[in-house]
């Protein structure tokens, strides 16, 4: 079987038509991963035993459900589907490192809610993908274990922090993947790797079993080859969960938008996103995308999101504050302990200092310390409280804009995928990679990265994505437009 270019739909059809079994498919993916992943480095750990037993079960179910001419309709669209999971999402009994040395020996104690849902839907988990440590970074270079390379140019980064998931999907080492997005960690790597990435509305998907980074911003979402696939996977993982008090139930709205419905949606172009610092090639690619969408007779309108330029500062105050609290649990006492050459350390406080000092990488330490700073008395009002107020202003900008438009279109990232090592020593330059994705998290909105079609792509060329931002809980709007764009 040829696994290249497989989408969820194509995989499902192939399985139902008995072109291949789920077991064969999984084996094929593993042998491909063995060949390709040495140079790409998308996976930290393969969950082969789990995958093959999951696949086997699907094949048994399939054989059972097909007596006399029946077409196996009992099996859902995700049955047997080989997918990759970012290594900050828990699968019971499997390694979970979050890309950090401090968890290098840790085995997940339970299934994340999204994993439970996907297991029920019959999905097959190929493995855990590489990420920046605790999802902190924009290039996946902050992983304690390995570098992931961009499949389009091995000297460049795949973006981050879900760089492993994006690279795996982009290079056909998984049909789809899950990532997490706190400031752009699904959308930016999807853009860099030429695939689709959806950050759902805050509250759309349960985060139970996601290793928390910044709880007022984190969301889990799909990374896929098509917008249609993103919709399928999103529908499978979303919904209220008692284990995550921020999760909510809502109607997904009209799923099958007709062209007439699409034409009723107005798209806003925020002038603050089309700025001088924007890479020229990116800018002209975005123009291409807009031109194509205009050919669908969708109306465009210039809008203003006045506080956009403050979003980065706002984010880099609020996020580290939450990081410093969330990462306090990694103490070398409860989850795992890295081996210690000075095994004489027996005092509790010394264990904390030693384990966290050696277990956390530079970026994680930087953010914990920064978080402690902005929360400490004397600085709280000037930094943390100020940032929360600015966050409100950013949210209000979006509310006002959405009174006049339904969807907002922006670039995903101000630059093309950069060279490995280029920004790793300059945190501020790295942070700037996320200026167009961060405001979406601060406002809790859904955002979708779609590859610009013109750049669909010769080897040597780099992919460029554009971002559609929707109203809260209106993923249907951005996915609807995306699906029409894709078919053009």
């Amino acid at each position: 079987m040829d696994i290249n270019g497989l989408t969820i739909k194509k995989f499902h059809d192939g399985l139902m038509n008995k072109e291949f079994s789920a077991f064969e498919a999984a084996e094929n993916f593993f042998s491909d991963i063995e060949k390709k992943d040495e140079e790409i480095g998308a996976y930290l750990h393969l969950t082969k035993d789990l995958a093959l037993s999951q696949a086997n079960k699907i094949d048994v179910d399939l054989a059972r459900s097909l007596p006399a001419g029946r077409q196996g309709k009992d099996l859902g669209i995700l049955a047997g589907l080989p997918i990759a999971i970012k290594d900050n999402i828990l699968i019971e009994g499997e390694q979970i490192t979050a890309g950090s040395k401090i968890l290098e020996n840790h085995i997940a104690s339970y299934d994340a809610t999204v994993i439970k849902k996907l297991k029920q839907a019959g999905a097959v988990f190929l493995g855990k993908t590489n990420l920046d440590e605790f999802a902190m970074g924009s290039s996946t270079e902050n992983s304690a274990f390995k570098i992931t390379h961009n499949p389009y140019d091995l000297e460049r980064v795949p973006g981050g922090s879900s760089g492993g998931s994006a690279a795996a999907v982009s290079s056909d080492m998984a049909v789809a993947a899950l990532g997490s997005d706190t400031g752009g960690s699904i959308r930016q790597p999807a853009g860099f790797c030429g695939v689709v990435g959806l950050k759902p509305t805050y509250g759309a998907v349960s985060r139970y079993g996601l290793i928390a980074m910044a709880s007022s911003l984190d969301q889990i979402g799909p990374i896929t080859k098509t917008v249609e696939d993103a919709e399928i996977l999103f529908e499978a993982i979303r919904g209220k969960d008692m284990q995550d008090a921020t999760s909510v139930n809502y109607e997904s709205g009209i799923r099958n938008y007709g062209l007439e419905d699409i034409r009723k949606l107005k798209i806003g172009l925020p002038k603050e996103y089309f700025i001088e610092g924007l890479d020229k090639q990116t800018s002209s690619a975005i123009d291409e995308a807009i031109k194509l969408l205009k050919s669908l007779k969708i109306e465009f309108k210039e809008i203003s999101l006045a506080h956009t330029k403050y979003a980065l500062s706002c984010y880099y105050i609020i996020m580290p504050a939450e990081v410093s609290a969330n990462l306090a649990r990694f103490d070398g006492i409860r989850y795992s302990r890295i081996s210690n050459p000075h095994s004489l350390i027996s005092n509790l406080k010394d264990i904390y200092f030693n384990q966290r000092g050696r277990g956390f990488g530079a970026e994680v330490k930087r953010r914990i310390i920064l978080g402690n700073f902005v929360l400490s008395s004397g600085y709280y009002d000037a930094y943390y409280s100020k940032a929360q107020k600015v966050r409100r202003l950013i949210k209000t900008d979006f509310n006002k804009a959405f009174a006049g438009v339904d969807v907002i279109l922006t670039p995903v990232s101000p630059t093309l995928p950069f060279k490995i090592g280029e920004k790793v020593d300059d945190p501020l330059a790295m942070y700037l990679s996320d200026i167009f994705t961060i405001p979406v998290n601060l406002a809790g909105l859904p955002g979708l990265t779609i590859p610009v079609k013109k750049y669909k792509i010769d080897r040597g060329e780099l992919p460029i994505g554009f971002q559609l931002i929707g109203k809260p809980f209106r993923e249907a709007d951005i996915l609807g437009i995306g699906k029409y764009y894709e078919q053009l």
Binding site: A328, F353, R356, K365, V390
Partner: protein
């Protein structure tokens, strides 16, 4: 805002993080640049603006005060991960000397 060595050491102490001499220099330098960047926020007028604390739908969530076995994590899975344990309990070094 200047961040000095003493402040950095205090913040690292609060975070229970051991940092080496070389690390300290780079951290000081990085944090300084980041804090300078934050200065732009001073120019934003936030008079009478309510701080925004979280995501979108901020509502209290209640459930019946009953034991919920659904989704319960297996005790032995957690215990297995403890670096030090005794009789199924987490073993911690003495807190009081």
């Amino acid at each position: 805002m200047e961040i000095d060595k003493k402040t950095l050491e205090y913040l690292a102490e609060l975070g229970r993080i051991e940092i080496g001499k070389k690390e300290e220099e780079k951290l000081l330098n990085d944090l300084q640049k980041i804090l300078e960047y934050f200065d732009e926020l001073k120019s934003v007028d936030t008079e009478n603006i309510e701080p925004m604390a979280g995501g979108t739908a901020q509502k209290n969530v209640f459930r019946d005060d009953e034991k919920d076995e659904n989704g319960k994590t297996k005790n032995e899975n957690l215990v297995r991960q403890f670096p030090e344990k005794q009789n199924g309990y987490l073993k911690v070094p003495p807190v009081f000397e």
